[in-house]
Symmetry: C2
């Protein structure tokens, strides 16, 4: 993470790239950041970072917390996020359902979409968390907050989203080598294809310890009014709680909830 902005990639506005890097340096663990701190982290001069942050503050994308010292992300980001097309309705509709599921299961529930973007001339797909519901009692692992990106081939939600992609599109966005995160990660494309077919057939995906050892998950597709799959709902939890014999019924349950959300989105099976 040292200097993601080292690469002088052609045709990119340097200062804007740096400004974005500054914005993205904020996280749950680091909700406030200072100039010097970031200067070191990004390998830029203090003055440079200072000017960039001042500009971002003027623009409302940053603000300073108590009385001028460290910076926080600015309120205007909420306004911008509110205008991110499409997903707002989905989030509104899905929220109550998924919160309920989180309460019932006492596991963390996610609402995710597939984000395909151009990386180095290649179209790559990533799974992005739109929303996460964590049961209040279980603050154990706070993994995967909103905005987190994950690989699609080894996550339950990712498999669902891949499964319902048009075949040629799927071909494009799947990398040649499927990275192995654990010994259980499916790394062969042909094996994955078989699994995706099964996902389509079953209407849900079950993944055991493919992204992280000891982490299991199930997921189900959410359709919009045109019928295409626009998102997936997933339940994730430690393997000792989400046992192999429980997973199928959990998946089935989530499938029903997802279907209800789809219905509310205007989908008529």
């Amino acid at each position: 993470m040292a200097s993601a902005l080292a690469e002088r990639s052609s045709s990119g506005v340097q200062s804007v790239e740096r400004a974005i890097a500054i914005l993205k340096s904020f996280s749950i663990d680091k909700p406030e950041r200072g100039v010097g701190e970031l200067s070191r982290e990004l390998g830029l001069h203090k003055s440079t970072v200072s000017r960039l942050m001042t500009t971002l503050e003027r623009g409302g994308l940053l603000s300073r917390s108590p009385e001028s010292q460290r910076y926080r992300l600015g309120i205007d980001l909420l306004g911008l996020a509110a205008h991110v097309a499409g997903y707002m309705d989905l989030r509104e509709v899905a929220r109550p359902y998924l919160r309920r599921v989180a309460d019932e299961c006492q596991e963390s529930v996610n609402l995710v979409v597939l984000d395909v973007s151009e990386r180095g001339g290649q179209r790559r797909a990533q799974v992005v968390n739109l929303e996460q519901f964590v049961p209040p009692t279980r603050q154990v692992k706070n993994i995967g907050r909103v905005g987190r990106r994950m690989p699609p081939h080894c996550t339950a939600a990712g498999k669902v989203l891949l499964a319902y992609l048009p075949p040629e599109e799927r071909e494009q966005v799947l990398p040649d080598v499927l990275e192995a995160f654990t010994p259980h990660t499916v790394t062969r494309r042909d094996h994955l294809q078989v699994e995706l077919a099964r996902v389509r057939q079953q209407g849900s995906a079950i993944v055991q310890e493919e992204l992280e050892e000891g982490l299991n998950a199930v997921a189900a597709p959410i359709h919009d009014h045109t019928g295409s799959v626009i998102a997936a709902a997933s339940i994730a939890g430690p393997a000792y709680r989400l046992t192999p014999q429980e997973l199928p019924q959990l998946a089935a349950h989530l499938g029903k909830v997802a279907a209800r959300i789809s219905h509310d989105m205007g989908f008529t099976a």
Copy 2:
């Protein structure tokens, strides 16, 4: 709005300012925008805008909708917004309550905070919408979506937030001239001070047609666990529905709901 970036304000990174201007050019009415379009609007060359937008896209703050053409706001903004410190809890807690109020009253309900920022060497306060709940049946006026900024001295929520500000702070952030938006707008500071005292006493604010003719509103404060007022809830609607005789009980009702939210935020009266 033609060119807010005309002013070569000292110590501001030009390209970042422009990038922010691009981001902020998106809105409900204009969820997708093109290079040429913006180039004209901002008075910049096509190539300049193209490069800026490409950079923003690479950074995930923009994305292109169908198959490379117009731009939309990018998903990563959701992730950034999720890290905007502090407000997330409040939104989560308040949401179900305020939605319910919106359903009951069949009026639009807002959750707002005060944003004080440095503008031209002067600290200015603005009221910002964190969240808006519009009853589904009444899509009439879709004013004031999330992120909208409004003056504090002539809005119900603004008066609440001003009322509970430390006096010296209030002095600072109140402009010398209170702009009149309608004939009913309070423009004298001493009159406003009297009203704010009444707000503190009553625990709620009632505003009739001060921001816009025919628009009435009530608001109540929301406290955090330390006791300070961090936000306000408001109900706004047309004067013919929110009649003068109804307003007080509406305000009282909202006050109770706000108190409940405060309680959930850890406030013990």
